[in-house]
Amino acid sequence: MSSVNQAKVNPEHKHKTPTVKLTIDGRVVAAKKGQTVLDCAGENGILIPHLCSHPVLPPFGACRLCLVEIEGMRGYPTSCSTPAEEGMVVRTGTEALKNLQRNILSLIILEHPGACLLCEKRQICDEFRPDAEKAGSATGCHSCGSRDSCEVRRLAENLGIKELPVAPVYLNRPIEKTHPFIDHDPNLCILCGRCVRICKHQHKTSVIDFTDRSSRTRIGRAFDCSLIEAGCTFCGSCVDVCPTGALAERYAKWQPAPDKSVKSTCTFCDWACELEFGIKQDKLICTKSANENIPVCALGKFALAEFLNGSGRLHSCYVRTDGILRETDWQEALAAVKDRLWNYRGDKFAFICDSTGTLEDRFIFRKFTRDVMQSPNYIELEGADQAFKRAAVPAGVKAAFISGGCIEADSLSKLEVLIIQDCYPSEASGRADVVLPVRVLAETEGTIKDRFGRHRPLLKACEPPKAAGSEWMIICRLAKTFGAEGFNYEFVADITKQLNPPPAPPEIQTGQTPGPAQDLKQMRTHFRGHRIDGHVGGLRELNAGPEPAPVSMPAQTKGTFEILDNRRLVPNTHEIVIRAPQVASKAQPGQFVIVMVDEKSERVPYTLCDWNIQTGTITIVVQEKGLSSRKLILCKPGSKLAHVIGPLGVPLEIKKYGTVALAAGCYGIAAIIPVARALKNAGNTVLAVTEARTGYLLYYGDRLRELSDEHVQAAIDGSLSPRGHAVDVIAGRLKSGEKIDCVIAIGCPFMMMLTARETKPYGVKTLAALNPIMLDGTGMCGACRLTVDGKMKFACVDGPFFDAHLIDWDELKDRRRAYSAEEIHSLAATAPAERSHTCARPINR
């Protein structure tokens, strides 16, 4: 049968590629010759589990998950590497296959911190924690920045993995956080090789490759050099294809998952790459190349979101009055522009912009200069690949309207009136009479012309900061303030129609690898006169080159709070012993201290986990969460902390309750030590139950066995018995009729909420320690405000212990996310040395 005939039979395959027919799961389907069984099945809506396979990459066959049964073939061939053939009879998803796939995935999860996948409470957990929580190293899904995009997680759900054959292990490999933009956590890597292969596919070279072998295999570079030294151009394609969180974008990974994506064009330079923007609540969170075969440059991949969301963005209008720029509204600002410019109409006026703006914007600029200001001085700077040009003001010009900051410093002093519209403050805007905030990049819409003269569409993808306006709209409104006619444009499309010559139909796909994605030297350094790296931390590191960036460690202090010991208990958790005799002499169970690493650090509360009056020391257990906790755990013994304030908080009431059950998780395992000791001394029977996602995250077992009457360690993934949360053990005892007079829960808010929920039916008095929600610790900041029994309380001064059954947990859950945007931004702006464990130096040298 000729291919022409076939095309008639199946109108969907009109092209001339010969097709074959095969049967998959009883359905007869057509496949292009050479197409793999996996791709063919996928096209026909039959989903076969796979991890290493990727649509734009050649078959690899590493993960072995895409097994199928094919009649006449021995064993279970991998569908990703088996070409579809005429008459093939394929079965997918049979019980035998599913069992194999479950086993294979279980083996993968043994070395991928995936205990959360096996948790029976994960649904409630996901509801309580809509976004993953920041952590120095991911030890489960809910502390992993890639939780919502993780393919291992999705597959485990689909295949219904319920338990692991043996206890999982943590690979304990150093996490690389010193690269610009990218965090590499080899402990999450499943060695699917997509990153290695996409690098080769897009760049025809290997910046990364598999190094070493067998159980030591990892993704690495020659002689373990940095990514910069390895020749990386930071196109970020490896991050985009990574199915786990092993390669992740530092800025984007802790952002909430995007709720929509928009395809538009990057306007950082005239290569004008097509990008796909991830948008959450009208905010741009992440970007990637819209064409998986073509990389984009570091600006398009990594700089855009950070540049747009920078805290320094101009978001209001400013008018200079009495020598000071004062914030005002649009109406006043535009009136002020008219006042200032009115007498400069004619050739005393100049309009200056660069060619990064849309055609529509520049059409309006030109029209305004000519028709309203009646000036011949319209100056448009051509974009240059690397060198950045600034405009000089023509002789005789006394007033200028500048879009951007691209003007020579000398020219500024010659001007009598200066109006600036821009996205960030600049030297020029500091001397301007009026400053107007504008939308840029993905906030704008219109048409742009790329370096090849093609017209490319620009779609608005996200909202600008506060009052920032479209440039064309600002100038149109200004023209109307001047009383000019012909500026009645409602939509940008109305201007597009007037362009002369009219733009050709826009082309979305370029199909070309942009120069800057192959050669960092071609990457633009400036945008609208601003150094882009001034607003994007990773670019500064990249521009600094392979030499490590200067180490900026916390400031030297003369504090008396010496760190005597600092050791890692389990991944992401450190035990720190500090000399603080006065705190130690006053400390009582349940109290906390505020620690400031240096004079400028955030104040962070930590529960007192132990103290010794004789030696004058206190012990705290710190989990690495964000910037401040990381600073603390990087401190080596011998360094001194600026402030340790405490003991603070209302101590736990120690009396004879009878039998007390302690439920503890994370840092709480350490925090119950003094509680257990005091309760035992007061004559109580103490049952200490600790929980962790998996066995390797539990600690202090010996100490708790000594301090309590009974100590139980529960693992949520079943790597230890009993399986489950601490409260499951306690609820089990209550159900069997055991008498428990009081339950005290210390751990993360989710764990305490869960404890409250499960003990409530039994009417047991349950206390929860709300330390994790505190910030400043003195009742002033209000961050730890919560509602208990309908009354407003502050955890730091009224607590930390509250009746867990009376706490409004829903309110608490929402309030915890109040500062997440600032926290994420601070992580991206941190210097490499402060991000990394390995290159840290003690504070006092």
Binding site: T205, S206, D212, G220, A222, F223
Partner: protein, 161 residues
């Protein structure tokens, strides 16, 4: 032993001209480089990458896959501790422990001063002499931790290679 860039270039160029730049010869070329220098110097790998167009990262990936390649100069003296059945029965693990402690390295590593390589081998075929240690190929029979200490001392002094 450090290798000058010039030496490097010359050696890599010569070895490449023998085998050709095709990637199928990569392992042979790497073997020759190691034969020449005793290890794979970083500059040689970089040089090889430039001349073949295969990225240094990929070459390193290939080389680290095989146990035969090393990336630091070999120690002056190579100490092999037999861990075969006969030697094991006669306490060879104690010898290995003693050596590890004395040299401050694990099997497969080289001391920081470049003096010793420590290796564990499965059997060197003289079980009657167990436990056996060889230094630079010379067999030392029926070793004890005390004698090991002496052996290390003897080889620590002057350079004799």
């Amino acid at each position: 032993m450090t290798v000058s860039a010039q030496q490097n270039n010359a050696v890599v160029a010569e070895l490449l001209s023998l085998h050709g730049k095709d990637r199928s010869h990569l392992i042979t070329v790497l073997q020759d480089i190691q034969q020449h220098f005793g290890y794979l110097p970083r500059q040689a790998v970089t040089q090889l990458a430039q001349r073949t167009g295969i990225s240094a990262n990929e070459i390193y990936g290939v080389a680290t896959f095989y146990a035969q390649f090393r990336f630091i100069p070999p120690g002056e003296h190579i100490i092999q501790v037999c861990q075969g059945t006969a030697c094991h029965v006669r306490g060879s693990w104690q010898l290995l422990q003693e050596l590890q402690q004395r040299l401050g390295i694990k099997p497969g590593q080289t001391t920081a001063d470049g003096r010793f390589d420590l290796r564990r081998v499965a059997c060197i075929g003289c079980c009657a002499l167990a436990p056996v240690v060889t230094v630079d190929g010379n067999v030392h029979a029926r070793m004890t931790p005390k004698e090991i200490a002496l052996l290390v001392k003897q080889h620590s002094g002057k350079k004799d290679r």
